[in-house]
């Protein structure tokens, strides 16, 4: 008990010196204002994103159902939309959202791109980054910690008070822990109220009906940020203790901050993208088309693949022309075509995604050296604004598209007469009641377990950092000198 008492005393002393500095009040007030601003703009973003997305998803559904009797293939071309919705945590962490396309048009035969991203509608100002609660926590608070902690030990060394302290029987370990506690307690005066407000905003957003999944994500979001900020308190005090003068400590800490939050994230990703070059859309699409043509082109009347299917059908049903088949032949061919083309598309997509994964692997590996990247990845994962969530959204949309197209083909096979209507006949249709058979598109964000699994590297790296810093404190406590 007694030893903790000393640490608390040191912490209290540090807190008092910090609060004597009026600049600290100004900075804290300012960061508070920024947090407030970030919360409001996150809230607005989230609401407008989800309101428009819901509105048009709903309207698109109504439009779909309001279609009159039609040929199902017309409906397959009428198509559906997948509009992206955000999860509640994305109010605090925008992650890659501005770069995500917000709508995918889902139709037969064709995998469309996800369009209408915020980035496409902005000029290059937006490339400076956005301000979110997570950004304040991950980028600005560490810097504030460094500003608070750079002279925690170094100044005492400069004044000569360090010798006094140590000669009074206080151990280095106590001193370091006391100082860390001091810096941490100052930063918590900002962090804890902010978190309380966050929780309130977050609950308000969901009208106080919370799902377990979202709650766990929120708790982890807070917990990991708490740990993350403690790191920086430790780093600040350690560097301060290692430095001869407070100026040197300050410069080293600023260097570390710049390296962690500004320079490394961009350079590692750029190196990854440079080494593993991804194909452009033109290349990607023309490769797919080449492969589809190799397999068989359903639009080409003389294609061998489709000719073989035709011949085998004629044999099996013992008829001499496709018009005599007991089901709709072109519906059958389209089912086959859709199967082939989407299989080929998915293969190419997998290849492309693998290249992207390799590009990302650089910065993932660097997360072991850089807690900022680990934290960023983790918090983007928790708020479903990360790379995997986006790919997941696109895959769910593609899945939906495929099922819709094939269902329409099945309806055609079953209900549309195999006899081609004459040029002046009314087109063949089926009852509009069938349209309701297709469910509306619903995007299910990844659950917490999947998120933790994909972000396992980040978690390991954060744990490793905790252990490492404890070791550092121990080593430092043994080897540090007072002068």
């Amino acid at each position: 008990m007694k030893s903790i008492h000393i640490e608390l005393l040191i912490a209290k002393h540090l807190r008092n010196t910090v609060f004597k500095n009026s600049a600290v009040f100004i900075i804290s007030l300012f960061i508070g204002a920024l947090l407030f601003f970030a919360a409001i703009s996150g809230w607005e973003n989230y609401n407008s994103q989800n309101e428009t997305s819901e509105k048009y998803q709903h309207q698109s559904r109504e439009d779909w159902l309001n279609n009159p009797d039609k040929n199902p293939h017309r409906m397959a071309h009428y198509g559906n939309f997948a509009f992206r919705k955000s999860t509640s945590l994305s109010v605090f962490e925008f992650g890659m959202e501005p770069f995500f396309g917000n709508a995918i048009f889902l139709e037969a035969h064709k995998q469309n791109t996800a369009n209408f991203s915020e980035a496409g509608f902005s000029n290059s100002i937006m490339r400076f980054g956005e301000i979110s609660i997570a950004m304040v926590f991950q980028v600005l608070l560490p810097l504030l910690i460094f500003f608070l902690g750079f002279n925690s030990v170094a100044a005492e060394r400069e004044n000569g008070t360090l010798k006094l302290l140590l000669s009074q029987g206080i151990s280095w370990k106590q001193l370091l822990f006391g100082k860390i506690l001091g810096v941490a307690s100052v930063i918590m005066m900002l962090f804890i109220p902010a978190v309380l407000v966050l929780i309130f905003v977050w609950m308000l957003l969901q009208n106080f009906t919370l799902s377990t999944d979202e709650t766990i994500k929120m708790l982890l979001f807070i917990l990991f940020h708490f740990i993350y900020l403690l790191f920086f308190c430790v780093i600040a005090v350690l560097i301060s203790a290692l430095s001869k003068t407070s100026k040197k400590a300050l410069i080293s800490l600023i260097g570390i901050w710049l390296l962690f939050t500004i320079i490394l994230p961009r350079t590692t990703q750029a190196v990854g993208a440079y080494i593993f070059e991804a194909p452009s859309k033109v290349q990607f699409n023309s490769n797919i088309e080449k492969d589809i043509l190799k397999q068989g082109d359903s639009h080409n009347p003389n294609d061998p693949h489709y000719k073989a299917i035709k011949d085998s059908l004629l044999r099996a049903y013992k008829v001499d022309s496709v018009q005599k088949l007991p089901f709709n032949y072109s519906g059958f061919i389209m089912t086959e075509g859709e199967k082939i083309s989407s299989k080929i598309y998915n293969q190419h997509l997998e290849d492309l995604l693998q290249i992207y994964e390799r590009q990302n692997s650089f910065s993932k590996a660097v997360s072991f050296l850089n807690p900022y990247i680990a934290m960023k990845n983790l918090s983007m994962g928790l708020s479903n604004t990360d790379y995997d969530s986006y790919i997941d959204f696109q895959k769910q949309a593609e899945n939906y598209r495929y099922n819709m197209a094939q269902k329409m083909n099945a309806l055609q096979i079953k209900y549309i007469s195999n006899k081609k209507p004459a040029a002046t006949d009314k087109p063949l249709t089926i009852d509009k009641d069938h349209w309701a058979d297709i469910d509306s598109f619903h995007y299910e964000p990844k659950g917490i377990l999947t998120v933790l699994k994909t972000e396992i590297l980040s978690i390991i790296s954060l744990i490793m950092w905790i252990i490492l810093l404890f070791v550092f404190i121990k080593i430092a406590a043994k080897n540090l000198k007072a002068i």
């Binding site: 920024l34 601003f37 703009s41 973003n45 407008s48 048009y56 309207q59 698109s60 279609n67 039609k70 017309r74 009428y78 939309f81 770069f99 995500f100 917000n102 709508a103 791109t113 369009n115 209408f116 915020e118 980035a119 496409g120 509608f121 000029n123 290059s124 100002i125 490339r127 400076f128 980054g129 956005e130 980028v139 600005l140 810097l143 500003f147 100026k247 600023i254 710049l258 320079i263 350079t267 590692t268 990703q269 750029a270 440079y274 991804a278 452009s280 859309k281 033109v282 290349q283 639009h299 492309l352 590009q359 990302n360 910065s363 790379y387 986006y390 209507p421 040029a423 002046t424 087109p427």
Partner: protein
């Protein structure tokens, strides 16, 4: 004296490492720019090849039906990428530089996005623009935050003060050598870039250079002003880094959120639903209504009557046309919203040198929203041209082999918008003069305390 000061500056290990680091990362940025340039060029080559094969193949399949053939074939328009674009990639990674469209409804095709790894977009490009805007200021701060305070803290200032005849000129000389070193780095990188990336030594590159110099001077002016307050080194470092943080991270982000929330674009989604319905509903309507609307838009096609068959290509393309015509309001609204966004952010940016420089560099490189909007406009004209060329051929069902398909090569859009020098240079110039003026006043006022 100047030579001695320079030797003293360059001899320090930190200076050497800093300058080398800047040169190195500047060179890396050129490599990345070159890769981007090569990729763009390769895309154009592939698109040209693809268009040739694709048209030839389809023309062979669909020999008898012009309407069906035009349903499939795509024509490409390239947004020309200037060599200088490698220095400031801007939004060119987000927006596709090639539009491939069929003559069917344009609104359903115009906004197709480029394939991208969102991780790369989030991290941002490591182009020379980034090096200049983010990293140069850091080095400038590192080199000059302690210009006087260091000597004061080590006790040598009094000696300097008593030995120099004019202390203000002494300080200016200290800045002068630092400014020269950084401008030298900028010059070296740009000269290498000109050769390495085949950037012609013309007005855009010189404007780029001019902006770069003004931007570097801006940061030196900031430093000059802060140093003129004559606080201690720690204070200077903290305050300068905070200014950097404001200029590079906080203000841009706040302004961006403001713009995004002030001009939301729900029109985009509305547009996409509208054009889908406008086209598809026509399948279930009286054909003559659609045709009448079509004749109203294009009176020149009035003499093509609706054929007496259930399906006709005239009717089909009239329906497709309606997808565009009936969503035209939303399309215009979206366009004007985006213009407003661009105008507003450019206006605000004039008061924030970092933003201003970023936007101006990207405008020189034709890689910003302005260029994208022009490209979309041009795509519309290109699409209209193809439409008007093929409509009569479809309605007459001209034999497919009468057309010389080889002549349909990809076309290129050149963004010829002129740069406004006053707008580009003045804001930075004014900031520089004001900061230097105040700094100078401070030095004069505080001379007594030396």
């Amino acid at each position: 004296m100047l030579v001695l000061l320079f030797k003293n500056f360059i001899r320090s290990k930190g200076t050497k490492i800093g300058l080398l680091f800047l040169l190195l990362i500047g060179f890396i940025s050129l490599l990345i720019g070159r890769q981007f340039q090569q990729k763009q060029q390769q895309n154009i080559v592939e698109t040209a090849l693809y268009q040739k094969e694709h048209i030839a193949r389809n023309a062979a399949f669909h020999k008898d039906e012009m309407g069906l053939l035009l349903y499939y074939i795509k024509f490409s328009l390239v947004n020309k990428t200037l060599p200088i674009n490698s220095l400031a990639i801007g939004q060119r990674d987000v927006n596709p530089s090639i539009q491939s469209v069929t003559i069917r409804g344009l609104e359903a095709q115009k906004y197709d996005s480029e394939l991208n790894n969102p991780n790369n977009l989030l991290a941002g490009n490591l182009d020379f623009g980034f090096v200049l805007i983010y990293l140069f200021p850091l080095l400038i701060i590192a080199f000059s935050y302690n210009i006087i305070s260091e000597e004061k803290e080590s006790g040598t200032w009094k000696i300097v003060a008593t030995q120099s005849s004019n202390i203000n000129f002494y300080i200016l000389k200290l800045f002068y050598i630092r400014i020269l070193s950084l401008i030298a780095v900028l010059t070296i990188v740009l000269i290498i870039a000109a050769f390495f990336l085949n950037i012609p030594l013309d007005q855009p590159l010189l404007t780029f250079y001019g902006l770069g110099i003004l931007y570097i001077l801006f940061w030196f002016s900031v430093n000059f002003f802060i140093v003129s307050l004559q606080k201690n080194s720690n204070f200077n470092a903290v305050i300068l880094l905070t200014i950097w943080l404001f200029m590079i991270i906080i203000l841009p982000a706040v302004i961006n959120s403001y713009i995004v929330n002030k001009y939301p674009v729900p029109e985009a989604l509305e547009l996409t639903l509208k054009q889908r319905n406008a086209y598809h509903q026509k399948w279930d309507m009286d054909k003559q209504i659609t045709l009448d609307k079509f004749y109203k838009h294009y009176p020149q096609f009035k003499h093509y009557p609706l054929p007496n068959t259930e399906f006709s290509w005239l009717w089909y393309y009239a329906m497709q046309q309606m997808g565009d015509d009936e969503s035209a309001i939303q399309s215009r609204e979206l366009e004007s919203k985006l213009k407003q966004r661009n105008q507003a952010s450019k206006l605000i940016a004039q008061f924030v040198p970092t933003l201003h420089t970023q936007i101006q560099l990207n405008e020189i490189a034709k890689s910003d929203l302005e260029n994208q909007l022009l490209f979309l406009k041009e795509t519309k004209q290109f699409h209209e041209k193809m439409r008007l060329y093929f409509y009569p051929k479809i309605f007459d069902n001209t034999p497919v082999n009468q057309e010389k398909w080889k002549k349909f090569k990809i076309e290129t859009f050149n963004d010829n918008s002129k740069l406004d020098f006053a707008k580009a240079f003045l804001p930075l110039l004014l900031f520089n003069l004001i900061l230097m003026g105040f700094g100078w006043l401070n030095f004069n006022r505080k001379r007594q305390t030396f």
